[in-house]
C-alpha cells in the first residue's frame, strides 16, 4: 500500500498528498484536537511520573550509592530487598523500627482524627446558629505549614519550664518532663500537635457528608426515639459510610507517609519510614538503591491497605443493595 501511495504521489504530486492529509485530518479530527490539548501535560506526566517510577524501580535492584546515576551502580541483585526481610541485618533493624513508629502513629492518628472529626461534625451540624463560624474557626489551623507546627510543638513541649505542658505538670505537683528527649514522649508530643491542629481536615469531609443526609430521615427517626445518640448511631452513622471509608483510607495513607514532625523536631528514636527513606537517599553516603527498595516496600504496604479497604467498602455496598 505504501508503494502505491508513494507512486501515486509522484504522479499527481502535491494534490494527492493534500487530499490524503485532509482525509487524515477529517478521520482523526477528535483525536487531533484532544491530543493537542493534553499532549504536553501527558508527556510531562510520563517524564516525571512514569519514567521516574521505572527509574526508581530499577534503581532499587542496584547497589547504587554515593550518587544518582547508573555509573554509580555495578550489579543488579535482590540484595536490597533481602536485607529488609533478613532478620538481624542492620537494614532490617532500622526499617522495622521505623515501621513500628509509623504504624503506631498511623493507628493512633487514624482513630483520633476520625472519632474527633465525626464528633465535631455532628456537634456543628446540631447547632442551630453559628455552625459555619465554628467550622471556619476550627479549620484554619490545619492549613499551617509543617515548619510552623514543628516550632509550636517545640514551644508547647519544651524540655524546661518554659513549655505549657511542663508548667501544667509542675502546677499539679509533678516533675519537669524532658518531652523531646524520650522517644515515647516525643512521639506523643508530635501526635498531640498533629492531631489537635489537623483533625479538622477530616471534620470538613464529615461535615459535608453529614449535611447531605436528607432531613426527613432524621425527623422520622426523632419521632420514634428521644435519644440523640440512638439517632446518631442508627441513622446518621450508616448513611455516612462513604465518608468514613474515604477518611479512614486518607488517614492511613497520610499516616504511612508521615515525615514532617519527625524530621523537623530533632529527637532520638522517632524515625518514621519516610524519614528513613529520606536519610538513606540524601544523607551521605547516599545509598540510593537501598533507599528506593525501602520506598517500594512502603508503597507495597500502602497499596495492600488501600486494596483491602476497597474490598471492604465494595462488599458492604453490595450487601446493602
Amino acid at each position: 500500500m505504501n508503494t502505491t501511495a508513494s507512486g501515486e504521489m509522484k504522479r499527481t504530486g502535491n494534490g494527492l498528498f493534500k487530499s490524503i492529509f485532509t482525509k487524515f485530518r477529517r478521520r482523526f479530527k477528535n483525536e487531533i484536537s484532544a491530543y493537542s490539548i493534553i499532549g504536553i501535560p501527558l508527556i510531562w506526566w510520563v517524564i516525571f511520573f512514569v519514567i521516574a517510577f521505572i527509574w526508581a524501580f530499577l534503581a532499587s535492584f542496584t547497589d547504587m550509592r554515593g550518587g544518582y546515576g547508573w555509573e554509580y551502580a555495578t550489579t543488579y541483585t535482590f540484595n536490597n530487598y533481602i536485607n529488609i526481610f533478613k532478620a538481624g541485618s542492620q537494614q532490617a533493624n532500622s526499617f522495622w523500627n521505623a515501621m513500628k513508629v509509623t504504624v503506631i502513629w498511623t493507628l493512633v492518628m487514624t482513630v483520633l482524627n476520625n472519632v474527633m472529626g465525626l464528633l465535631c461534625a455532628f456537634l456543628i451540624k446540631s447547632l442551630k446558629k453559628g455552625g459555619k463560624v465554628f467550622l471556619a474557626l476550627l479549620f484554619w489551623p490545619s492549613l499551617v505549614s509543617a515548619v510552623v507546627s514543628a516550632d509550636i510543638t517545640k514551644t508547647l513541649f519544651a524540655n524546661d519550664t518554659s513549655g505549657i505542658f511542663n508548667q501544667i505538670i509542675v502546677a499539679c505537683g509533678g516533675n519537669v518532663v524532658a518531652w523531646l528527649e524520650n522517644p515515647n514522649t516525643a512521639l506523643f508530643a508530635m501526635m498531640f500537635v498533629s492531631f489537635f491542629f489537623g483533625f479538622c481536615q477530616k471534620l470538613l469531609i464529615y461535615y459535608s457528608s453529614i449535611i447531605s443526609i436528607p432531613e426527613n430521615y432524621l425527623e422520622a427517626a426523632s419521632l420514634e426515639t428521644n435519644s440523640k445518640s440512638k439517632v446518631f448511631f442508627k441513622i446518621t452513622l450508616p448513611l455516612m459510610k462513604n465518608a468514613i471509608v474515604l477518611n479512614t483510607l486518607l488517614s492511613i495513607i497520610e499516616g504511612f507517609k508521615i515525615l514532617g514532625p519527625m524530621q523537623l523536631i530533632p529527637s532520638e528514636g522517632t524515625e518514621s519510614v519516610m524519614l528513613l527513606i529520606y536519610k538513606t537517599l540524601f544523607e551521605a553516603p547516599s545509598k540510593v538503591g537501598q533507599g528506593c527498595a525501602y520506598a517500594f516496600v512502603l508503597f507495597l504496604f500502602i497499596f495492600i491497605i488501600s486494596l483491602v479497604q476497597k474490598k471492604i467498602a465494595g462488599k458492604e455496598e453490595t450487601s446493602i443493595e
Binding site: A34, L138, D151, T155, T161, L246, F303
Partner: protein
C-alpha cells in the same frame, strides 16, 4: 474522653426525661455543643496567640521561669524587622512567591485541560489514558523522590526555581476532581459554541473555565496553600546545591537560628513563624467559601 462525655450526657438524660421538657433538653444540648466547640477552638488558637505575644517581646526581655505570658509585656515590633533583615526573608519571599504562583497557575492549566478533555471529549485512546492515570493515583509521589531529584539534575534545573516548580505539575488527583465536576457541563453548550466557530482553546477559556469556576477555585487555593507550605523537595534541592533561588520562606525559617543568645532567638523565630503564616491566613479569610467547600467535592468520590 470527649466521646464518653457525650454518652454520659445522653444516658443521664432519660432519667430526668419526665421532668424536663424536650425544649429544655434541646437547650442544654445546644449549650453543651457551644461550650465544647468553643473550648476546642480556643485551645487551637491559643498557641498562635502565644507565638504572637512571644514575637513582640523585646530581645533583652527575660521571662520569669514558670510563667506564661498571655498579654504583651515589653512590647516591640523590632523582632519582625530583625527577622526580615537577618533571615533574608524578602529574598525568600520572592522565591516563595515565584514558586507558589507559577506552580499554581501552571498546575491549574494542566489540570483543567486534562480534566476537560477526559470528561467532555470523545476520542480514541481516552479509555486507556483514563485507566492508566486512575491506576497510578495509588502510587505515592514519595516513591520517586530520588528519581525526581535525578531528573532535575538531568534537565539542569536543580539549581533554579524551575527545579521545584516543574516536577509535580501534573496532579492526577486534581485532574479527577476537576473532571468529575466538568461532567455536569451540558454538551449542548459546548456544541453550540463550536457551531458558532469556537476553537478548542477558546472553548476551554470562554466556556469551561467560567462554568467550572467553583471547583477550579478550590483546586487553585488548595494547591496554593500546599505549595506555599511545601518544604521537602525544596529542602532536598537546596541542601545539595545551595542555590539561593531555591531558598523558600519555609526553608528560611526552618534554618533560622541567629544565635543572639538569651531568649532573643525564640522571639525572632516566633516573629518569623507569624510572618510566614500570614499569607495563608489572608488566603483563608478571603477565599473561605471555596476552602470550606473542598469537603463537598472530595466527598463525592
Amino acid at each position: 474522653m470527649n466521646k464518653t462525655d457525650v454518652k454520659q450526657a445522653d444516658t443521664a438524660k432519660p432519667k430526668k426525661q419526665k421532668k424536663i421538657s424536650m425544649k429544655r433538653r434541646e437547650r442544654t444540648f445546644q449549650a453543651f455543643c457551644y461550650i465544647f466547640l468553643t473550648i476546642i477552638a480556643f485551645f487551637q488558637c491559643m498557641p498562635f496567640w502565644l507565638k504572637l505575644v512571644d514575637a513582640t517581646h523585646s530581645p533583652d526581655f527575660l521571662p520569669e521561669p514558670g510563667k506564661i505570658y498571655v498579654w504583651f509585656t515589653d512590647f516591640t515590633l523590632s523582632n519582625f524587622k530583625s527577622v526580615i533583615e537577618y533571615g533574608k526573608l524578602f529574598q525568600a519571599l520572592g522565591v516563595s512567591l515565584l514558586h507558589t504562583v507559577s506552580f499554581t497557575a501552571l498546575s491549574m492549566f494542566v489540570v483543567v485541560a486534562l480534566g476537560y478533555v477526559l470528561s467532555k471529549k470523545r476520542f480514541r485512546g481516552k479509555k486507556i489514558v483514563t485507566t492508566i492515570l486512575m491506576a497510578t493515583m495509588m502510587i505515592p509521589g514519595e516513591v520517586m523522590l530520588a528519581a525526581n531529584y535525578k531528573l532535575t539534575i538531568a534537565f539542569g534545573i536543580n539549581t533554579s526555581t524551575l527545579g521545584i516548580i516543574l516536577p509535580g505539575l501534573v496532579n492526577v488527583f486534581g485532574v479527577f476532581l476537576v473532571s468529575q465536576y466538568m461532567v455536569n457541563i451540558p454538551d449542548s453548550v459546548l456544541e453550540a459554541a463550536s457551531i458558532d466557530g469556537c476553537g478548542e482553546f477558546r472553548k476551554l477559556f470562554r466556556i469551561v473555565f467560567p462554568m467550572a469556576k467553583p471547583i477550579i477555585m478550590t483546586y487553585v487555593i488548595i494547591t496554593f496553600i500546599g505549595t506555599w507550605n511545601e518544604y521537602l523537595f525544596p529542602m532536598i534541592l537546596y541542601s545539595t546545591s545551595g542555590s539561593e533561588s531555591l531558598y523558600t520562606l519555609q526553608l528560611a525559617m526552618q534554618n533560622f537560628y541567629p544565635k543572639w543568645g538569651g531568649n532573643a532567638d525564640t522571639y525572632l523565630r516566633s516573629a518569623g513563624m507569624i510572618l510566614i503564616t500570614i499569607p495563608i491566613i489572608i488566603m483563608y479569610i478571603v477565599f473561605q467559601k471555596y476552602i470550606l467547600n473542598q469537603g463537598n467535592t472530595s466527598g463525592i468520590k
